[in-house]
Amino acid sequence: MELQIGLPLFYFLLLGFAILMYVLLDGFDLGIGILYPWFNTDAEHDHLMRSISHVWDGNETWLVFGGVILFGAFPLAYASIASLLYLPIMLMLIGLIFRGVAFEYRFKSHTSKIWWNRAFAIGSSLAAFCQGLMLGVLVQGVDADSIASSSLQWLTPFSLFTGLAVMAGYALLGCTYLTMKSRGDIQQKAARYGQRLLLFVMLAMLLVSLFTLYKQPEIRERWFGGAHSLILMLLPLMAILAARLLFRDLGRVQRQFAAEADISIRHESRPFWLAASLFLLAFAGLVAGLFPYLLPHQISFYTAAAPDSSLSFMLPGVLIFLPLILAYTLWGYHIFRGKVEDYEEGY
């Protein structure tokens, strides 16, 4: 019995890892797309694009990875969830298409530049919003018959709210990325917006948590019954602490810039890691509530798991290639480390 649960559990965790990586990595570059309209000049827009043009493709690959892990390890869940969420997935894909091609075409265009700016901003926002919508569905769950009848149950005030919340969260990640990668006005703007977004994100996390606890007695019990609830309580406490530090750091970046302090004491890259850990904690909270389900109360990871022959076939691939992927991805980020320079670089 233990062995039968072991492999599916591994893939459940792997799926979680893939989703988390996607949310963190594409989160900051979608976030920059969401922030885009709040920056005005061509030079600022160039800068924003340059800061992510070499990584967006790799970041988006985590979305494909999540999709195929779901397909290969949990075919039943992939089939049900994908057709249930038909429209949000399609709209997300269209959004990703427009913002993806904008990277290439914008730098090669003159008269049509304004359209690529729009494609990038609207595409990124649409994709992020749809992802938030899907998150909302995962949290609230759907009726048993809604998968077969392909209803519109994914469209609720709650899921619309989570759509906006995820947009804000990605934008926050984008702000902290810019705080790390930019100088001067752009950095200051990013830090300022980051503080406001952080307040909204914390409020949204609180509301979503309260709503879930109120609506779903099982989750309430899991959080407030038994000794393990003490460990779970660490998650919100740590989140509050991270948010507190993040708010202070973003403020410090602004003040010390005004005081013309040395760059080294401004902690310009710490906000990004704090925002990332905020996401990590929120994600851990989500998984703690959802476990062992892929779709609440309907599809659990062990009922949806593919046969052993498939799970063990993928295992060496994952164990060998995933560390390699992480290594060369890190190396890629290392090569492009430091502030983004505002001049023509590359091909």
Binding site: F65, G72, P75, S83, Y105, E345
Partner: protein, 468 residues
């Protein structure tokens, strides 16, 4: 008229996958050529190779970008539009795609950033390595996706438990009977497609642009490549055809337009109009006995015809029949071009022959059209099956409301039509703009080394500050 969700889902998949295949077909060949040029530049120091690499890397970048965004769509469409198919074959096809992502997609994406934007950040050898890795990544990607696709044509190595596919032998699943042929055929097709895009552009540049040296080099290299690759492709295509005859005789009958249950001494039809209702061809023009000779190596050999199976197990004959002729026709044209080029080279008039260069410049989309036609033969020819002989397409479509699929299909048609126009516009723009001039090329070489990079940076920043 009642809307049919199943038909709409199939149309949507056919449309989105057709759009997608255009771009990898070009980038597989183009990435390989760019890697070759960069390698030759490192080896010989001849700047014309660097110029070629630098010129083609821009069209490559936009083509690759289009391939990425249109490819993500496909990885979700299995589940959104063919949920039952995903449920029953996920354990077989999902792991193959997981390997594709693990061994190819991440690799391509990870090194693409360095290939495109890393010229001033890494040394020339490391940059060359990044380019090679991207090229090899495109081949690996083709390997896995062709393995998955081939399994749907010639399924092997599986068992069926409670209506769900499980794997008995992964080796047999991956190297299923048609996989080696399809993989070789497709990889060659992609190399040829990239080759002809470069060949056509170089021919155009020889007549209309000032970068004659680069154009001459590009034309010469691609003509040699075409001379080797196109006849080889004809040979591999023939082997692939024999494989189809063995495993999917109905598809072969549709390709050849053979109706009779068994036909001895079947002619090779050059033209005909197949009629599904009357179960025969109209206006046949053919070469007697040639089809039998090619496929059985005996002029009186017997071939199986469409009537050997019930009407509901036959594909749309006309689509398969005509697509096959388009593909073969273009193939013949390409072989003729390669030989004509070799002949002119031997005569010493290759670069002056206006008619030949003009003709070549019209061949830019030839590879893409042949690839699309070939895939229509393969995929339409498999219908009504999704997994040959085991799963019918119509049985595994998601039970979606038709309006919803119509909505997404409309969105895709609008989006892709717009983007295809944009893509052609920018390709034309980049080709007309030409390569970076030689002087600028040497400047960029300074930047390749880290110290030079700092100097270039300082130079760049100064005038900017003075302006303020």
């Amino acid at each position: 008229m009642e809307l049919d969700a199943a038909l709409l889902s199939r149309l949507q998949f056919a449309f989105t996958v057709s759009f997608h295949i255009i771009f990898p077909s070009i980038t597989i060949g183009l990435a390989t050529l760019i890697a070759i040029w960069e390698g030759l530049w490192l080896k010989t120091g001849n700047p014309v190779y660097l110029q070629l690499a630098k010129f083609w890397i821009k069209p490559f970048a936009i083509t690759f970008g289009m391939g990425v965004v249109s490819g993500i769509v496909l990885s979700y469409e299995f589940g959104t539009n063919f949920s039952e198919f995903s449920r029953i074959t996920g354990a077989v096809l999902g792991p193959l795609m997981a390997y594709e992502v693990l061994t190819a997609f991440f690799l391509e994406a990870g090194f693409l950033g360095i290939m495109l934007f890393g010229w001033q950040r890494v040394g020339p050898k490391l940059h060359f390595m990044a380019t090679v890795v991207v090229a090899v990544g495109t081949w690996i990607s083709a390997f896995w996706i062709i393995a998955a696709n081939s399994w749907m044509h010639t399924p092997a190595g599986h068992i069926i438990v409670d209506g769900v596919f499980q794997v008995d032998s992964w080796w047999q699943v991956i190297f299923n009977p048609s996989m080696p042929y399809r993989f070789t055929h497709m990889l060659l097709a992609a190399f040829i497609t990239g080759t002809f895009v470069v060949l056509a552009t170089s021919a155009w540049q020889l007549r209309h642009s000032e970068h004659k040296n680069m154009a001459r080099k590009g034309l010469s290299m691609t003509l040699w490549l075409a001379l080797i690759l196109t006849p080889l492709q004809a040979y591999v295509g023939d082997l692939h055809g024999l494989n189809v005859k063995e495993h999917q005789p109905v598809k072969l009958a549709a390709m050849e337009g053979i109706w009779a249950e068994r036909e001895a001494g079947a002619p090779l039809l050059l033209f005909a109009i197949p009629d599904r209702v009357a179960e025969k061809n109209h206006f046949e023009i053919g070469i007697p006995k040639l089809a039998s000779l090619i496929l059985t190596h005996d002029p009186d050999g017997e071939l199986m015809g469409l009537k050997a199976v019930p009407a509901d197990e036959r594909p749309n004959v006309a689509v398969v029949f005509f697509s096959f002729r388009v593909m073969v026709g273009i193939g013949v044209l390409m072989i003729l071009t390669a030989f004509a080029g070799a002949f002119l080279r031997w005569r010493g008039t290759l670069y002056q022959s206006r008619w030949f260069l003009t003709a070549c410049s019209y061949l830019a989309p030839s590879g893409i059209i042949a690839v699309l036609a070939g895939w229509y033969v393969v995929e339409v020819g498999r219908q009504p099956w999704l997994v040959h002989g085991l799963v019918r397409t119509i049985d595994v479509v998601s039970p979606l409301p038709a309006e919803r699929v119509l909505f997404s299909l409309t969105l895709f048609v609008l989006t892709y039509s717009l983007l295809f126009g944009v893509y052609l516009y920018f390709m034309r723009k980049l080709i007309r703009k030409g390569p970076p001039p030689m002087e600028k090329l040497s400047q960029q070489l300074i930047g390749v080394k880290a110290s030079g990079y700092a100097v270039a940076l300082a130079k760049h920043i100064k005038p900017e500050q003075e302006q303020r």
